[in-house]
Symmetry: C3
Subunit: 210 residues, 3 copies
């Protein structure tokens, strides 16, 4: 229409955020499977994680491109930028961790890593709910904030898990095993940190809209 | 008053920055005590550091909340954001380092870590003076810049200390000890890096006001 | 001229970017020499890297100072800030890596590190071409984007190299050697990551100007 220029439509950024978070959810689910499957990681699982990471990158680039083209945005430009970057980070760090699992020949079946993978999946699912809840402006706020509280709680759970597991690791393993596992457990905890970063961005967006 | 809307008062951000930096000073002081006390870290010292970290977080959130509500700010919004984040980082990294000291069962009394703790306290005290000096706009600038120069000097001291201590570490310890101590010494040096980041933000604020 | 205030001249930021990238190119070249020279690193080579790092810092400060003074900029202020920071990062990380080579007594002549040093030099040279190409607005865009594609390709090459080399490292070396070399190889790969960060900033600037 000729007046489109005068009445630009607001682009639906939420669809892209939901796409990003869906890749994070799929990566977290696949990581849970990898952590619990005995033996070395299967090539198909490794490829699946890389696929989610690439698709997540594409979605991030789509957000940035759209941001550069849009005059009207659903919330502050810098917050859109921060949200899309942090969502991308979730899938990136899962990918980094799984890459290390492959290179270090970390076998599946470690009970600590399995526990981490369950907490990570819970946290990423809460991130997905928070992001999806942002569409529903009025009545959704309370539910979104509750998901953010849950994400913060799981980050604290992860901190305590990492401390306990490192404590045990230094008591019981050889130096080379310590080098490998320490990095993997810290990666796992970093995923939870990034989920918390997403929750912080979401909360800050809601505060500004209140 | 009915005209408050027309003449909004500038919020006193400096009080919050001073609160933040006071927690960093207290954390640095407690860390010096931890580093010099023989034996494993006492639970009360560990709790004290966590307390300063939590209080520092609260002060940071107060700054961000206030920033989102304020129309008038004493300097650029992005600089307020950067300053509060970096001040928070000081206490965060001290907390991370002390957490590792607990998990790795690092005993107090190591002469290198004691030396680091003294340099850290000096640097954080210089940060406190620089931040407190920012209130006094006109005549304070020169003094503030001198504190920033001192913070930069201490960061260089820390770099040299870390290099010397890592050099010695690799010559004299077992692999497991190297893994533990290397991380602790690098944390210590990171605290000094962050003090320098604060000094850079402060300098950049003063330059813009000149 | 009296009307200078009314018609401020645009400062030539490109000259400063080119200066920064030239220090990165020189640091990358010196690093290639260090990696291939048998025996411990020579003091003069170590000093040369530190010199490039200091000069790079000076150029970065000059960009930031100029940015704070300029009303007119060739592209978005935040992009100028990001570009200068990332260019500075290249030289910084090369300096950090070389510092570790000295402290860990890493001898020259390792075939993997030599291969990394060649890929790093290629990538930094592509960064230099991309940055220099940004001056030529109209016809240069295609060439600049081709350099960015090349930088991305080399980052992927580096990822694969790091994975292969870590895999081999864990199979063949003692724990202490693993600790040292792992960090050096990861530094080397980080240099390529930062070159990619520069390419991303450059691409985003070109997209906005299109």
């Amino acid at each position: 229409m000729i007046l489109d220029f005068l009445f630009p439509k607001e682009f639906d950024f939420f669809t892209l955020f939901e796409e990003q978070v869906n890749y994070a959810v799929q990566a977290a689910g696949k990581f849970k499977e990898i952590a619990s499957t005995p033996g070395l990681i299967e090539e198909s699982s490794y490829q699946a994680i890389q696929h989610f990471e690439h698709k997540g990158d594409d979605a991030t680039h789509a957000v940035i491109d759209q941001l550069n083209k849009s005059f009207i945005t659903p919330f502050d430009r810098e917050d859109i930028h921060a949200l899309t970057k942090e969502l991308d980070n979730i899938t990136d760090v899962i990918n980094t961790m799984v890459g290390r699992i492959k290179v270090y020949k970390i076998p599946g079946g470690d009970k600590h890593l399995m526990e981490f993978s369950r907490v990570i999946e819970e946290s990423v699912l809460a991130v997905a709910k928070a992001v999806k809840g942002m569409r529903v402006r009025k009545n959704g706020t309370k539910a979104v904030l509750e998901h953010c509280v849950e994400i913060n709680r799981l980050e604290n759970v992860g901190d305590a898990m990492r401390d306990a597991v490192l404590f045990e690791l230094f008591e019981s393993k050889s130096a080379i095993e310590i080098i490998k596992w320490k990095e993997i457990y810290q990666d796992a905890e970093t995923v939870l940190d990034i989920c918390e970063d997403v929750a912080n961005v979401v909360e800050s967006i809601l505060v500004k809209q209140a």
